[in-house]
């Protein structure tokens, strides 16, 4: 007898036969209704799913830059800022804290062209500058809110309201996991502390909890409760598990057809495997000294982010679908002390990020791994408190690399002062639709029924896939 819980078609046909007199016909004929049934049954899994069309990328590494990196100081040079430094900005400018706003503020950094593509990068990012020929720089991003949290919700979940599922959750809900012994969606947060908005950055919202990001710590035990709270020698842990397996199997044997009990037993087996595999993934000593050094491991400033970048590569290598890196607080929120703030942020991240790009490329992994760099918004061309910059939502820069995007390419442009995206503007939903497309998903088809709506990551927006950046 077949008790396949996950076969919707079979389930529906059986129900259709057995529930005479109940109006199920329209459910059978309407795919959305059929899907709603699965939701009603509360059955979801992380088995690998087939993409709708050929994916360009298999995995994603998102280097999230909390606080809003300043585009005009990093990747979007604006000579006019030097020319009009100190003068009043010609026009209305949407400022978060108007009482501190000053005139135009030139960048403290110098820009130069790099690589064959000649993409300009400021001298504060010397390592990433060497890899511009692998980058696809989008200079025309814009978002809807000028404050951190709503803008974070926008970039992570597609709306400026809290509580929706994150991009990573949608991806693993849609694609499942390639790994048998690691979570599908791994978050590498900073041992120093949570980023702004904390664990909501990787929440599955109202998607089932198995799709939420699993935090891996880059030091110590990578996963919560991976090892016993009180140290227990391995053979004794094994003996516990064996006893549990025997008791559970006897329990299961008396309950034929309870797939849920099989899944429970399997989940304990996975727990045991993960103890080994997650620990192994974390064991950076397996990497050569030169590799470690390249990532900046061994250097106090770059050690932490370097470990996480290297760990990200090791996780993707082992089939993890979505890896997200965070830094404590919001290091790019340079309201004051712009120059030292950006120097500090780059000192921590520039070398590790460059090493990750080089490492992925050298191993041939960059082809099907999409790397995304950027924050929730950008910053303004005018000064705040003399030497800082306030939030800017109208225009900011992100870059991607690998996984099906053009290399050595610049998309879009901001205005003369870098205030607002004016050419080939890319909205956050556009970005989301494009990311999903690269993973082989049509953003309109990735839906979840909730309260009578077919919810999507891209919600009520009608975004477009930014085809100009596809390789």
């Amino acid at each position: 007898m077949n008790y396949d819980f996950f076969n919707r078609r079979k389930f529906l046909s059986t129900i259709g036969r057995s529930l005479s007199g109940i109006a199920l016909s329209d459910l059978l004929s309407r795919e959305s209704g059929a899907f709603e049934r699965d939701v009603a049954l509360k059955q979801f899994d992380l088995k690998p799913k087939t993409s709708r069309f050929a994916p360009r990328a298999k995995s994603v590494i998102q280097l999230f830059m909390h606080g809003g990196p300043s585009q005009v100081d990093l990747l979007d040079p604006k000579p006019s800022l030097d020319k009009y430094d100190g003068q009043k900005f010609p026009g209305v400018i949407d400022v978060q804290q108007p009482e501190q706003a000053g005139g135009i503020l030139k960048s403290p950094f110098k820009f130069a062209k790099h690589g064959q593509s000649g993409i300009e990068v400021s001298d504060v990012m010397p390592h990433v500058a060497k890899h511009v020929d692998d980058l696809c720089v989008i200079r025309s991003m814009w978002t809807e809110h000028i404050n951190h949290e709503p803008a974070l919700w926008m970039i992570h979940t597609g709306r400026t309201i809290p509580g929706r599922p994150s991009l990573g959750s949608w991806v693993v809900y849609g694609l499942g996991s390639e790994s048998q012994d690691l979570p599908a969606y791994v978050v590498l947060d900073d041992p120093k502390g949570l980023p702004v908005d904390g664990i909501r950055n990787w929440s599955s919202g109202w998607l089932p909890p198995q799709f939420q990001g699993t935090r891996f710590r880059a030091t110590g035990t990578p996963v919560w409760n991976l090892n016993p709270a009180r140290a227990v020698p391995a053979p004794l842990q094994k003996a516990r598990r064996e006893l549990l397996a025997k008791i559970d199997q006897a329990h299961r044997a008396a309950r034929p057809g309870e797939a849920e009990l099989d899944a429970r037993i399997a989940s304990y087996q996975l727990a045991a495997r993960m103890q080994v595999s997650a620990t192994a993934a974390l064991d950076l000593s397996q990497e050569t000294k030169p590799t470690q050094a390249a990532y900046g491991i061994g250097n106090e400033t770059t050690e932490s982010y370097g470990r996480r970048c290297l760990l990200a590569r090791r996780l993707v290598e082992r089939g993890v679908r979505y890896v997200q890196l965070f830094i404590d607080g919001q290091i790019w929120d340079n309201h004051t002390g712009l120059e030292s703030g950006i120097r500090g942020a780059c000192a921590r991240t520039d070398q590790p990020v460059a090493a990750l790009l080089a490492d992925l490329k050298q191993r041939g992994m960059l082809d099907d791994t999409l790397v995304i760099w950027g924050g929730e918004f950008g910053r303004l061309p005018i000064s705040q408190s003399k030497n800082g910059r306030d939030h800017g939502r109208q225009g900011f820069t992100m870059w991607m690399a690998g996984g099906g995007v053009k290399a050595g390419h610049v998309h879009g442009a901001t205005d003369e002062f870098g205030y607002a995206a004016v050419e080939e503007r890319v909205s956050v939903p556009d970005l989301h639709a494009t990311l999903l497309y690269l993973l082989g998903i049509d953003h309109k088809e990735l839906t979840f029924p909730r309260n009578g709506l077919e919810e999507r990551l891209t919600g009520v927006y009608e975004p477009r896939v930014v085809s100009e950046i596809l390789a």
């Binding site: 978060q96 404050n147 664990i199 919202g205 909890p209 110590g220 016993p228 004794l236 006893l243 996975l270």
Partner: protein, 912 residues
């Protein structure tokens, strides 16, 4: 220069700019032949459109038969033609796209050309003759005044008139304030208002942030300038009320089963009366029998008592309770068990949690990273638990939660009685959603409307089983819920949550005191103040030159402080009440946009659910009431005995909590996109019975739990599995995993550490360095899960891991996941280890005999004796594990491991 015009086209004033552009475009000389409505356009419309959009049929509330119909627009109230602008006229866009007419017959290119030519030529003049159409000038005047309302009136309006300026009417604007008239008609350059704005003096920078006001953009300034230069014409009167009730909802729409009052049909006959214990059995059995199925055999007593404890109390039974029930030879032992459980205070904690899920209860504000804790809201949680324990009739329960403040004139009662307190605490139900407006950064109109929308969603999904959210932006696609009905329903709550006169969450509090209570407090405080007064004098009289000055002052201050701590304050509650007896006008928001006001709506309930106009009547709750009575009207309407949804929805949810799935599987959605009920007749019978039993939830438990259906075994049988593999017909009791709270509370109970203290402030939680959130290992920290701090940003790890909902609005139906973090937590966490250790200690104190230890562990965790084979296995484990500990020179004990393994077992986590 950057393109600033394009930049400032944010969400706020975009519509205004389009209108301004229209003005310009319409002034351009046109070269096309003049076309007129009557002779040229109407024949085309008559041929293609009027079948549905005549004045009489008005599908989508749109009439294309006259200019005024075109100007008035359809449901959303947006004109379908913008004179001079064919490209933004919906009429043109829809016919060009082939979306209209809907039958596939397209308009010819010639016809479309005629329509466009008309819009470009005569349309403007023709539109100017009808009342419904606002000229671009009037529209601009309205937009300017809306801008004043949002950006100026916070300081120059109802609440204050800074500089004696009131920006609410043309008269008061022209009168101006201290500095003279705010504007000079026709002369923008001489108008103070514009100068102040242009020089960035208004709205003042410091005030902007505090009051959540955006600066006036250049585009907006241009709009104001043009308006003043054009003579600063008066704005048109505010949009009229939408009063065409029923037009968009047909009688056919009302035929949907869930919109009809439930009626109890005949109890079906069954072939095997042996299996029929209650009416519930008859309904279920008749359907089973029609498929050649029947109920499974009755579960044994051990299974039944465990199931009953978990269903009603949310904790596993103690071995003693299990033994007593198993050995109870008296008749009706089971019925008495149910009675005992329904009388237990633990019942309200379990079923209170179910209600709190549906209400979306949390102890914190929920939006910003700070996630401020609300220290007063626990009173609502306690109210719910008390109401459940007291068996408060459900209709009364709803009445209090929706309109408790409107039931009695609480301001003039002598004493705050228990019942009055309940009334005032209960509207905490309407205070559960995320409200970000404490921070000025998220206190814009947009955010306020979001609070309203979330509240409406909680009410509609938890009480009415309806998902109305989509009707916020457009009429519901599947259910007969026009957008205007959505805003009418929202208007019920807008008297309290008033976007135009917002109160921040922590200011929405009320004193729980009667006149006498307050007088007593005042008298008491007066006596204390009388003692404080002389001390103040003494302090004032001290001389700094005195060597003893510092010491004396400190001593007096301390004395004073001691007295001050005795001062009493009436207890406070965080709840909801209307701001005034007369609510501000409330408008439909086109496309759900806060700055896109349509016509006005009056508070009302969805048309499709209204039996008669009289069934929803707003009246002043009592003489001189401080509220509108709209929520009271809603509560009375919802609790009418024949309401189509109220009883069905709660009966279905109670059923869901007993059987793991509702009779309507989509418990939050009884509409057309929901899943049809498996047993509609049973649902109706239960709903009617429930109302007849005085809306008693406890009686409903009795009905359900004394049925054979609830008491059957959970094992799959081939016969049932072949025909109905997912058990929709209930040929067995489904196997269910325990809820998160049940797992945590039961583990504590088994370990003998569950603290039974009820009520009060939430139990604090702490975040460990690795990010896990848990309570302290103290009596307080080991209280039932319902009392733990439900802070949205720090969900308790053990609860969250087992699918306790993360509340953004509310949760009608939990998911049950099966993830590795659960296994890791159960095997390795400090929490699990502590419970296993504690249980092992209890057992080892009683006996050192391994066999007896195994039996005791099985009884405590699984509520049964081990079978011989199990006992042998466990004893062997104890022996070998002890040896292993010795061999590994480790201090652990094998009995702890056995207890831990049993707590991890499927038999513990799943209920048969």
């Amino acid at each position: 220069m950057p393109n600033h015009r394009a930049l400032s086209l944010g969400r706020s004033i975009g519509a205004i700019v389009v209108v301004a552009a229209v003005t310009v475009a319409a002034d351009q000389p046109v070269t096309t032949d003049v076309r007129r409505f009557e002779p040229d356009v109407l024949p085309i419309l008559r041929q293609h459109c009027l079948k549905c959009h005549s004045q009489k049929v008005r599908k989508g509330d749109l009439s294309l038969q006259s200019i005024s119909g075109l100007a008035r627009g359809g449901e959303s109230g947006e004109p379908v033609v913008v004179p001079g602008e064919p490209a933004v006229s919906r009429l043109i866009n829809l016919v060009k796209a082939g979306e209209m007419p809907p039958d596939g017959a397209r308009l010819s290119d010639d016809d479309i050309e005629v329509l466009e030519a008309w819009i470009n030529t005569a349309a403007r003049k023709e539109f100017s003759t009808v009342n419904e159409a606002l000229s671009p000038e009037l529209l601009a005047a309205r937009n300017v005044h809306f801008l004043f309302e949002v950006k100026c009136q916070p300081c120059h309006g109802r609440k204050k008139q800074e500089g004696e300026l009131d920006m609410r009417s043309m008269a008061s604007i022209l009168r101006g304030g201290k500095s003279g008239p705010a504007l000079v008609r026709g002369k923008a350059s001489e108008s103070l208002l514009l100068r102040r704005i242009h020089d960035d003096q208004m709205p003042p920078r410091d005030v902007r942030y505090k009051l959540s006001i955006r600066p006036v953009t250049e585009t907006e300034q241009e709009l104001i300038r043009d308006w003043i230069d054009g003579g600063a014409i008066d704005p048109p009167p505010p949009p009229g009320v939408i009063d065409d009730e029923g037009l968009l909802v047909s009688d056919a729409d009302k035929q949907w089963w869930a919109f009809q009052s439930p009626s109890a049909g005949a109890i079906p006959n069954v072939a095997d009366p042996q299996q029929e214990r209650t009416e519930i059995d008859s309904f279920l059995l008749s359907k089973l029998e029609s498929q050649g199925l029947s109920f499974s055999a009755k579960a044994d007593r051990r299974t039944l008592i465990r199931r009953a404890y978990i269903d009603l109390l949310g904790i596993v039974p103690s071995p003693e309770a299990t033994q007593a029930f198993v050995n109870d030879a008296t008749p009706n032992a089971f019925d008495r068990l149910i009675e005992r459980l329904l009388g237990s205070p633990r019942y309200g904690e379990r079923w209170g949690q179910h209600w709190l899920d549906a209400a979306g209860y949390a102890d914190s504000e929920g939006s910003a990273s700070a996630d401020t804790i609300y220290p007063l809201v626990y009173q609502y949680r306690d109210y719910v638990i008390r109401a459940m324990n007291a068996g408060k009739p459900y209709d009364r329960f709803l009445l209090e939660q929706l309109a408790g403040d409107e039931l009695v004139d609480y301001r003039n009662v002598p004493r705050m009685t228990e019942q009055l307190r309940d009334n005032l605490v209960a509207t905490g139900y309407l205070r559960t959603c995320i409200d970000p407006t404490t921070s000025p950064e998220t206190n814009f109109l947009y955010d306020r409307y979001q609070v309203l929308a979330d509240t409406v969603e909680i009410v509609s999904s938890s009480l009415m089983g309806l998902t109305v959210r989509c009707a916020r932006c457009h009429s519901h696609k599947y259910d007969p819920l026009p957008q205007r009905d959505y805003y009418r329903f929202t208007a019920i709550f807008a008297a309290a949550y008033t976007p135009s006169d917002w109160v921040k969450p922590q200011q929405r509090t009320m004193e729980l005191a009667g006149v006498e209570d307050r007088r007593e407090i005042a008298e008491f405080n007066a006596t204390i103040n009388n003692q404080i007064h002389p001390i103040n004098l003494q302090i004032a009289a001290l001389s700094e030159k005195d060597a003893e000055f510092k010491k004396q002052k400190e001593s007096l201050e301390a004395e004073k402080k001691k007295l001050e701590t005795q001062l009493r304050k009436p207890p406070q509650v965080q709840n909801l009440t209307d701001l005034r007896p007369d609510a501000d006008p409330f408008y439909l928001l086109r496309r759900g946009e806060w700055n896109n006001r349509g016509r006005r709506v009056l508070p009302n309930v969805p048309t499709v659910l209204k039996r008669s106009p009289e069934s929803f009547q707003i009246a002043r709750p009592f003489d001189d009431a401080p509220t509108t009575g709209s929520r009271l009207a809603l509560a009375r309407w919802l609790t009418q005995d024949d309401h189509p949804l109220t009883a069905r929805v709660i009966v279905n949810r109670v059923w869901q909590h007993h059987f793991g799935r509702g009779i309507v599987p989509t418990a939050e959605n009884f509409g057309k996109t929901g899943v049809a009920p498996t047993h509609p007749e049973l649902l109706d019978w239960l709903a009617v019975e429930f109302v007849n039993n005085d809306w008693s939830i406890k009686q409903l438990h009795r009905l359900i739990m004394t049925s054979n259906a609830w008491r059957q075994q959970s094992r799959r049988r081939d016969a049932g599995a072949a025909i109905d593999p997912d058990n929709h017909l209930l040929w067995r009791m489904p196997l269910q995993r325990m809820d998160a709270e049940v797992i945590r509370d039961s583990m504590l109970a088994v370990a003998g550490r569950l603290d039974g203290k009820m009520f009060g402030s939430a139990v604090g939680v702490k975040s460990l360095p690795d990010g896990q959130v848990m309570t302290e290992d103290t009596a307080e920290g080991n209280r039932r899960s319902v009392y733990l701090l439900h802070r949205r940003s720090t969900p308790v790890t053990v609860l969250e891991t087992f699918d306790a909902p993360r509340l953004t609005t509310n949760c009608i139906q939990r998911h049950t996941s099966n993830v590795v973090s659960q296994s890791l937590l159960m095997l390795n966490s400090g929490f699990a280890d502590r419970q296993a250790t504690s249980l092992a200690k209890v057992i080892s104190v009683k006996t050192s005999d391994r066999s007896q230890q195994v039996t005791a562990a099985y009884e405590a965790v699984l509520g049964r004796d081990p079978k011989e084979s199990e006992s042998e296995l466990a004893i062997g484990f104890l022996r070998q594990q002890t040896d292993r500990y010795e061999a590994n020179d480790s201090t652990g004990t094998a009995l702890v491991d056995l207890c831990l393994v049993l707590l991890n077992s499927s038999e513990f986590l799943y209920v048969d």
